[in-house]
């Protein structure tokens, strides 16, 4: 994002420089594709759902054993010192194959990087190696019953007690809290005062602890992914405070560029496109060729932008506006695919079960795509801020 003054006119340009994957990243791509082919051949899983819903702890451990979790983290924390672009190769290939990545996804994408940046040395040494091995899974503890898009209004509160903190409050839409080990929760530890963003802090909560209650919230697809997590005087040791007390807002927003710009924001319905293609491989009609080609064109644009953000993250820049922009555009693209492929109808005479299940799953899950990770409205507000309108 740059602001450029030329001839007195204030010009705003979002920044998406063009990067090329280095040769070692492309070698890695072949390796990941080989791994996926082996897994599929062995019948270890079926491509299904999208990145947020297909959960397999054993798959995550196999990925960890390959060195594909915590890839960009230093070796001393169990990481692999690889670049953001190499990480992108792994994540996009796993998503494109609709692999069951949900267990490790949040921990690898944002909890680990958050701890790496703001966590104590002891927290890094304790948690990062477990995450990188695919043995420790995290949930996001942001939303509450009365705080969704308006995240700064959270009311869960931590009061200082001897040796730690006592948390009271509720978190909702906490995906896989019933299966994951930890959640990083954003709670109020002090008054905001003039700035609503002050007085917030983040804590690592052990979801298996006896004084943490995890209740199911079944979604409209009939699946249990969401939970409500209830804290009623839950004790959290001082050592589980992430970063400085009161710095929670800055920390939580730093997670968002990681959360918003990745390939999961435009590959949610890739299985629909690939399965449609597979149905008509023998005799593709012009309409189908056109539909598939249109998707390919948009994927190229989105992927170019996503690569640019990954590369900027690598150099320490956090392109928040660009990340929001990609997510909004990517989500719209995912939605468009459903409409386009549904309309093809008889152009797909040999409809496979795989295609029909992808169509059903995409259709029923699509409302969640434009909600999770920031609603469409929040994202457009951010882009507008980037444009200088707010």
């Amino acid at each position: 994002m740059e602001r450029v003054g030329i001839e007195g006119v204030n010009r705003v340009r979002f920044s998406f420089p063009i990067f090329e994957f280095p040769p070692q990243a492309e070698a890695l791509r072949s390796e990941v594709r080989g791994f996926i082919a082996e897994e599929l051949a062995a019948g270890l899983w079926q491509p299904s759902g999208d990145f947020a819903s297909s959960y397999s702890a054993t798959f995550s451990q196999r990925i960890g054993a390959r060195g594909w979790l915590g890839m960009t983290w230093p070796r001393r924390y169990g990481g692999h010192d690889r670049s953001m672009l190499e990480r992108l190769v792994v994540t996009e290939e796993l998503l494109a194959a609709s692999a069951p990545v949900a267990a490790h996804w949040i921990a690898d994408r944002q909890s680990g990087p958050l701890l790496l940046r703001y966590g104590s040395e002891a927290q890094r040494e304790e948690f990062l190696p477990q995450i990188a091995r695919g043995e420790s899974f995290f949930s996001i503890g942001m939303s509450e019953p009365d705080s969704g898009s308006d995240l700064a209004s959270v009311r869960s509160r931590a009061a200082k007690v001897a040796g730690g903190w006592s948390i009271t409050g509720r978190k909702v839409w906490t995906t896989f809290a019933h299966l994951n080990h930890f959640a990083i929760v954003l709670v109020r530890t002090g008054e905001g005062g003039a700035s609503r963003h002050a007085g917030l802090s983040q804590f690592i909560v052990d979801l298996k602890a006896a004084d943490v209650e995890v209740r199911p919230i079944v979604n409209m697809a009939g699946q249990r992914e969401f939970n409500e997590v209830v804290f009623d005087g839950t004790f959290i040791a001082d050592a589980r405070l992430v970063g400085e007390p009161g710095n929670g807002w800055q920390q939580v927003t730093s997670e968002l560029a990681f959360e918003r710009s990745g390939p999961e924001r435009y590959l949610s319905s890739i299985r629909l496109v690939e399965s449609a293609l597979a149905c008509a491989r023998e005799q593709p009609t012009p309409r189908l060729r056109e539909a598939i080609g249109r998707m390919a064109a948009k994927l190229i644009a989105l992927r170019t932008m996503s690569i640019a953000v990954a590369a900027q993250l690598q150099s320490g820049v956090t392109p928040d506006f660009e990340a929001a922009l990609i997510k909004d555009l990517g989500n719209a693209f995912e939605r468009e695919q459903i409409a386009v492929f549904r309309a093809l109808g008889a152009e797909l005479p040999m409809c496979s079960d795989d295609y029909l299940s992808a169509l059903a799953s995409s259709t029923i899950n699509s409302p969640s795509w434009t909600l999770r990770g920031g609603t469409r409205e929040v994202l457009r507000g951010l882009v507008a801020r980037g444009l200088g309108l707010r």
Binding site: E2, V4, I6, E7, V9, N10, R11, V12, R13, F14, F16, P17, I18, F19, E20, F21, E26, R29, S30, R33, A96, E274, L277, P284, P286, R289, E290, A291, I292, G293, R294, M295, A296, A297, K298, L299, I300, A301, L302, R303, T304, M305, A308, Q314, S315, E322, L325, D328, L329, E377, L379, R380, G381, V383, A384, G386, L387, G388, L389, R390
Partner: protein, 279 residues
């Protein structure tokens, strides 16, 4: 350290803007107008519209100049001249929009690719210029007691337009990077230009709609400069579609590439990476 293979440097951009402002002044001050312009264009190393397909070093500079020109809204339709390389025919000074289907199309595949690329860059730049004009306008114009920019519906509309401008810019830059790297005569280049034509073509609809909508009636007048940009990107899009046989054909060819590899994803990754192994 990771380095981008292509980045539109602000300094290059500014220099290009100035260079074209100077050119425009010279052209207007010389009686032999068009010849003067041609001489100046020749001096800049763009004798034939765009750099020679294999002169990779010249491409980023050419792109910067094409973009700067497309944004500058000078009264000279230099871009048409540059892009068509039409040295014999007359330069159209008309601002009327006519869906022309007789625009010049070069016979060589290399020139066709270069020209398509030039059009994508121009359209992206003209959309960016229209967006910037709109951003300025909504901050200046007040209705219901406050600047239009304060209305959330205006903010979200312009955010959408900005997203389209960004997508078009990114895919055009990717095609440019491909040209810089391997020249314009590659199958990959041709496919990327098809993809760019699809993306850019759709973006124009969104940007044309939203930028005019936020302007209200003033944007629909001759006296206000928005039409310079919108007629530019509309006309250039027509020419781009003419060069490539239309958006549907572009999409079909891309679809063929996906069917050939048996996967959209494989086609996308292969097209975006030179020397990718066909595993």
């Amino acid at each position: 350290m990771l380095a981008p293979i292509l980045v539109m440097d602000t300094l290059v951009h500014d220099a290009a803007t100035r260079a074209f402002a100077d050119l425009a002044r010279d052209w207007l001050s010389i009686d032999s107008g068009r010849d003067g312009l041609l001489a100046a264009v020749e001096q800049l190393g763009f004798a034939d519209a765009l750099p020679s397909p294999d002169d990779r070093d010249a491409w980023p500079a050419a792109a910067a100049i094409i973009r700067a020109q497309a944004r500058s809204a000078t009264p000279i339709d230099m871009a048409l001249l540059l892009a068509t390389g039409d040295r014999a025919g007359s330069i159209s000074q008309s601002r009327a929009y006519d869906c022309a289907r007789s625009a010049a199309a070069p016979d060589s595949p290399a020139a066709l690719a270069a020209l398509s690329l030039g059009r994508c860059l121009q359209i992206s730049a003209a959309m960016q210029a229209a967006l910037e004009l709109s951003l300025q306008y909504v901050q200046d114009r007040k209705q219901f007691g406050q600047p239009l920019a304060k209305f959330q519906v205006i903010q979200h509309g312009l955010a959408l337009a900005a997203e389209e401008v960004a997508a078009s810019g990114a895919i055009s830059d990717l095609a440019l990077a491909c040209a810089v790297r391997d020249g314009v005569q590659t199958a990959r280049m041709s496919a990327l230009l098809d993809a760019a034509a699809v993306v850019v073509g759709q973006s124009v609809d969104v940007v044309y709609d939203i930028c005019h909508q936020v302007h209200g009636a003033i944007g629909f007048t001759q006296e206000y400069p928005l039409h310079r940009h919108s007629i530019d990107f509309l006309r250039w899009r027509d020419h781009l579609q003419l060069l490539r046989g239309g958006e549907l054909r572009c999409a079909e060819r891309l679809g063929d590439a996906a069917f050939e590899l048996g996967s959209v994803w494989r086609a996308v990754t292969a097209l975006m990476q030179p020397r990718v192994s066909r595993d």
